[in-house]
Symmetry: C2
Subunit: 340 residues, 2 copies
DNA sequence: TCTTGGCACTCAGTGTGAACGAGTGCCAAT
DNA sequence: ATTGGCACTCGTTCACACTGAGTGCCAAGA
């Protein structure tokens, strides 16, 4: 049986342990929280909680620390999101409103998130796969060198250089440009990439060769989801606060280098809600001592990417969850505005 | 007097200490290096080296470790650059040749450098200040929304969005575009930014308002040296190998978060040569235990930026210097090619 | 039945002191 | 100038006893 008071005890243990990084005993618990019962009673409750696997005793004569299962219950049942302070809200708003483009939004928000939570923050760059093509521009730098510029609805701009075998005239280039935009403007990039196969047929025969070259790099740029795989990381210095270098800090530092790993950590948080993955619940056994708090972002439930924080299981979940949610909302709003 | 054999002893001490991270004694020294003399002789030499301040004894019954001054002598007099292996050369070439744009070059080379040296690598994004304007493109997304695209000789592309008060026609836009390119193409960005002040006078009166708006964002984009201040960092996980968390790792992790600090570390390495700054020689007292190996890069002595590695003073200087130089050369070459 | 005070027990952490040994400095001999 | 020998230093390690936070259990009380 886990009744209300036992939940209170668990909450108190989690809060104290997060604050002190030391096993917490029954006496300190009743002192620091107004539980209204004696240490002996708390001890009985602790015995039950331990029996059920929510807390754990490193050694006989020590206090208790929460297990992953205990944190899980804490997060599911007990954690009321810490509301952001007015100052924090203002900081988020002013910082992110000053961002000039999408990359800037990502870089500013990852920094912000790490500062708000004092954890390591991760922000995935927004995916291009839902974007539509807004415009394609062709600029002749020299008669045989054309800069191809792809402007997406997300505000992202990709450029590629094309070397032509033959010099091209401005009028030919203009016609190809028109044909390309005819074929792709307003179309989702995947479909646009597919449609460009027919581009050489849509122009006059003598323009087929350069059109093919242009179509080729455009297709490549559209299917190049490199930016889907990019993530920004900030706040690694915050790891310094945590002891236990070998089990907690080192594996995390190594994981942070591997963006593939980070993407997997972020990846499954598809929905609107804030997801918490605690210790061993994650996919990497080396990261058994770290937790991940993530959520998706994007305008109107449109999943453009994920962001979150990672840190030791011993982390401030309510605070992290609140910050993650707040930043995700602002980012979504900003991206939405830029999109109109 | 510091004669040749004493220099040999110093070299041996540095090499052993770098390899083992432990104070090195006279006996181990003659065993591991074929010095051809007895431990007692080495001890005499060590006494002199200590007197002169090149090495130091943490406590009476311990071996010696090099001082910053000792590392300095080692680097200046003794370090012959470790030549890159054929495999390493090939890795550099194949990786960097696959880069598609400038940002990609930076990101790949920082990663490469950290892997080659097993240190923390830093690469500054190339400065824009020497770039010239290659082309300016104006694209009407809607009649009142114009995407301004600035293409620089370095291959970098900056985009900005302009909201117009009045709808604009395609012909007006084309005329403004022509005027802008007339004024800026081929001109260094600083001069181009200055020249754009006169843009409204160069177009027909009814186009002055939109021209002013365009000139305004272009000037801002040209003088926005944000990218001069950007740096890429990789290899923080390599710090995990070093003990001495508080004096060596933590301050460095904190410094790595502050890009301003990084830029200052990189900053003074203007020339072509590889610069080594050892421990206290640097500008930050908190980084007294870390050394920086940097060099500039850019085609034909044109300083576009700096790159290098940072790590504890106890680092493999010859290897780091060789890797830094090799990567800088490749980066310079690639940027040069893209620039033609 | 739940709560509480009391009490014996456990065991990590701390401190002390002795033994150990890596490494040195010095000196006399070569 | 180099070398073997030797006494000396001092950090490290280990054993051992001590301390005290914290527990589990039990009997008494609400």
């Amino acid at each position: 049986m886990v009744d209300d008071r036992k939940l209170d005890v668990l909450r108190a243990i989690v809060e104290d342990y997060v604050a002190t990084e030391e096993p917490v005993g029954s006496k300190a618990l009743v002192e620091r929280h107004g539980l209204g019962v004696s240490p002996a009673t708390v001890r009985n409750d602790m015995a039950v909680l331990e029996e059920e696997g929510y807390i754990h005793q490193p050694h006989t004569s020590a206090g208790r620390i929460p297990t992953d299962k205990g944190y899980r219950l804490f997060v599911d049942k007990l954690a009321t999101l810490k509301p952001m302070s007015a100052a924090e809200r203002r900081a988020i708003a002013t910082l992110l409103d000053g961002a000039v483009d999408v990359d800037d939004v990502v870089q500013k928000s990852v920094r912000l998130l790490s500062q708000l939570t004092h954890q390591v923050a991760i922000v995935q760059y927004p995916t291009l796969s839902h974007s539509t093509v807004r415009h394609v521009e062709l600029v002749a730098l020299t008669p045989t060198r054309v800069m191809v510029i792809l402007i997406l609805s997300s505000g992202r701009v990709e450029q590629r250089l094309v070397e032509l075998d033959e010099p091209i005239t401005d009028t030919d280039l203009a016609e190809i440009r028109a044909a390309v935009n005819q074929a792709s403007a307003g179309v989702q990039i995947a479909a646009a990439a597919a449609g460009l196969v027919d581009l050489p047929d849509a122009v006059r025969p003598e323009q087929a060769a350069p059109a093919r070259a242009v179509a080729s790099v455009l297709t490549e740029a559209m299917s190049d989801h490199r930016s889907d795989e990019r993530v920004a990381v900030s706040g690694t210095a915050n790891l310094a606060r945590y002891g236990d270098f070998d089990t907690a800090v080192r594996p995390l530092l190594e994981a942070l280098e591997e963006h593939v790993v980070l993407l997997k950590l972020l990846g499954e948080s598809g929905s609107d809600a804030v997801t918490v993955r605690i210790g061993h619940e994650g996919p990497y056994s080396e990261l058994a001592a770290t937790s991940v708090v993530t959520t998706g972002y994007g305008p109107q439930q449109f999943h453009l990417g994920s962001l979150g924080v990672v840190g030791p299981t011993r982390m401030d979940y309510p605070g992290s969850m609140a910050a993650v949610r707040a930043v995700a909302r602002y980012v979504s709003r900003i991206l939405d505005e830029g999109n109109q």
